[in-house]
């Protein structure tokens, strides 16, 4: 009962905030609305007892990514402008694409047999996540860090060339 209520409230917060993100005519308001959206998702992670992921979500997404987005908006010349159109002439086409994707996702969710594990979670998931990263998921982990490294070097190269 409490879980259901929490889920509905958190989903409502997330959905309202994301509608503002894609619909607002003010780009800074869009960026700031990302914060409640990320926090709502954090709440859902906590409901799923994935508290480490929830903490990282607040730290990285709500804390760092949003700040970077706001930073970029405020540094670019016309970014502080309040008039900002998020919609172009291709609304019908976009609606069809979004509807198709939504139908596809809902169909997948409804047909997938979700495993309803009844086992208890370990009380301390952070070290388990670390161990998994260093054993079974080592390839994924290393490739991800390589991608980030490439992005980092690329950013430095672009910044150097402009000078």
């Amino acid at each position: 009962m409490g879980q259901l209520a929490a889920f509905i409230i958190l989903s409502a917060i997330t959905l309202v905030a994301t509608v503002v993100v894609v619909g607002s005519g003010n780009i800074v308001r869009s960026a700031l609305s990302l914060v409640p959206a990320f926090l709502g998702i954090t709440g859902i992670y906590i409901l799923l007892q994935a508290e480490f992921v929830a903490g990282i979500q607040v730290l990285i997404y709500a804390g760092a990514i949003t700040v970077l987005i706001l930073f970029v908006i405020m540094l670019t010349e016309h970014g502080t402008g309040v008039r900002f159109r998020q919609v172009n002439e291709q609304v019908p086409l976009g609606m069809i694409a979004a509807g198709a994707l939504g139908a596809f996702l809902i169909a997948t969710f409804l047909t997938t047999p979700w495993p309803m594990a009844t086992g208890s979670l370990p009380p301390y998931t952070a070290s388990q996540i670390g161990t998994t990263f260093m054993t079974n998921m080592i390839l994924v982990f290393e490739v991800t860090s390589l991608v980030l490294l490439v992005a980092l070097i690329g950013a430095i190269v672009i910044a150097r060339r402009e000078r």
Partner: protein
Amino acid sequence: MVNWPLEILKAFALAALMFTFLAIVAAMFGVLLERKIGGWIQSRLGPKHIGPQGLLQTLADTIKLLQKEHITPRAVDAAIFNTAPLIVAVAGLMSWIVIPFGTLGQRVLVVRDLNIGLVFFAGMASMTVIGILAGGWSSNNKYSLLGGLRSASQMVSYELPLGLALVAVAMEAGTLSTVGIVQAQGGWLGSLAFRQFPAFVIFLVAATAEVNRLPFDLPEAESELVAGYFSEYTGMRFALFQLGEYAEMFAMAAMATTLFLGGWKGPFLPPLVWFLIKMYAVVFLFMWVRWTYPRYRLDQLLNLSWKVLLPAGLIWILITGYRITF
């Protein structure tokens, strides 16, 4: 099964208790302490006239601020402008949830001993900057915007060394829970300040930068930016920014106490007293630094973070990992 209504009621009661207590202790007493210590360091008297030795000065200031008019300038983005101080204050006060104050019998005095305590603390510290950026942008004032931008670049830079220091501590203690970290530390010589000395130094420097205090107070540099991101705020909204700042500074001091100085542990005196002594020692250090050092330039500030603290933190994590494994 969890009793939901009871849990929610408990959360509200504890939040009200802690926020009231911290608003009074952290902000009011902190401001008074700051002015008194500042006066002492600069050979002045500091506040002296209201109450015995000026003790009631901040109380009078708060009552004055409560009576002031809320001015929302015409050109501001009102919704964001009015929300920004709340974000700063709430994020500053939320950090206190994971701080263990001491023990009472067998119970540890902590609002919630989260098993991700350190991550939660870092997350709340990083939420403050959103309030600052929002306040700076929505004021529609170039000084405020510059203050907000400076704050964003500073906080993004110093969050990394802060996080690295926290990682080193978590590795040494083997847990992310704040209570667990205190329990992992022994008496005086067993406290992590000795075994994790470089992490301690990195944490203190990064914490000073995170709470925008001198020598890292570029976001609100009075001489260049008037007051930076809160130039346009009046009355209680201005006070909320101050409250958030002091709550976060005290939270950083409390966290340094918990992580490096053995938390509530100590001989003879009760645990709560030990915690307060250690916390106020760190607070005094912050104030001492503030009234002694001049302000950094922005490039010096960023260089210190990216070229000194970050490599030092990474190397220290490597050394800590080596020491633990072998």
